[in-house]
């Protein structure tokens, strides 16, 4: 069954790259939505059903961690899987994201294989 996706990154270049790599993983991709920051993402989630969020960390207005916390704070979004895709590669950052409710973590630069490795357990 196809999954509706929300890609969140302040870089339009990176949003395109994420989508391209996502399609290469073989995941059945339904509707794709894009947002430039966490606030835009929440606005999209209010109106569109989404099953998977792929989010950067460092963004203006609301960053990726803020988005994870906002999504996990809303029971209506409990079903949504969240994978961080970010240059933030430190152990503390990874732990912080996962403890806040992210389901997976991909460090930039990344390949489709890196993304697939994180997706497999998350989407199982």
């Amino acid at each position: 069954m196809a999954i509706n996706i929300l890609i969140v990154d302040d870089s339009s270049t990176m949003r395109k790259i994420v989508l391209r790599n996502l399609k290469q993983t073989g995941l059945a991709v339904g509707e794709v939505h894009q947002a430039g920051d966490g606030q835009e993402a929440l606005a999209i989630l209010a109106d569109h059903p989404v099953g998977l969020i792929l989010s950067d960390w460092n963004m203006p207005n609301m960053d990726g961690l803020g988005l994870v916390q906002a999504v996990r704070g809303n029971p209506a979004f409990a079903h949504i899987r969240i994978i961080m895709i970010t240059t933030e590669g430190g152990d503390a950052k990874v732990s912080e994201a996962l403890a806040s409710g992210a389901n997976g973590y991909v460090k930039k630069p990344f390949t489709a294989e890196d993304l697939e490795k994180q997706l497999a357990p998350v989407m199982a």
């Binding site: 302040d10 870089s11 339009s12 270049t13 990176m14 395109k16 790259i17 391209r20 460092n58 963004m59 203006p60 970010t86 240059t87 933030e88 590669g89 430190g90 152990d91 503390a92 950052k93 990874v94 912080e96 930039k108 630069p109 990344f110 390949t111």
Partner: protein, 158 residues
């Protein structure tokens, strides 16, 4: 031994270009630079601050920037003056700065990265305090066109 060694920086830049652009650049030795490089086309700047402070600048000509953006996006015919090219340059600088950040701090919370700033041509110079070091990595695209990574840091490099 400084964390930002030539080998570590080479690995970081090479990894980004190989995985995200599909390009195998030719990376030359890291050299201390006495004065700033003139902006030959596009400069993408990312700063970092916290327990460590510095700036990473990715600099290249318009033509190279367009080629690199096209490689990242897997698209041809980009307008050299487009936001897409600016954005791609910013993302390259962001990833290089992120890799360098990961070299100098393990946890991640010790240092925060800025959002990329893009400057096109124009007469800018990045001036730094005396106690900072400025290092420059010269690299070449597979077609021979150069691009540069400048690192300004309080930490020893090289």
């Amino acid at each position: 031994m400084p964390a930002m060694t030539t080998a570590a920086i080479h690995d970081a830049v090479h990894g980004i270009f190989q995985s995200m652009l599909g390009i195998e650049p030719s990376l030359h030795a890291l050299e201390r630079a006495d004065r700033p490089l003139k902006n030959a086309g596009i400069a993408a700047i990312v700063g970092y601050a916290g327990e460590h402070e510095g700036t990473v600048v990715f600099i290249c000509g318009r033509s190279v920037a367009t080629q690199l953006a096209e490689a990242m996006l897997m698209e041809d015919g980009l307008d050299p003056d487009s936001e897409e090219v600016d954005d791609a340059m910013g993302e390259i600088a962001n990833m290089i700065a992120g890799q360098l950040k990961n070299l100098i701090c393990k946890g991640g919370n010790e240092v925060q990265l800025s959002i990329p700033v893009i400057l096109r041509e124009g007469d800018y110079r990045l001036h730094v305090p005396e106690y900072y070091e400025r290092w420059r990595l010269t690299a070449f695209h597979t077609n021979g066109d150069p691009f540069y990574v400048e690192m300004v840091s309080r930490e020893p490099i090289g």
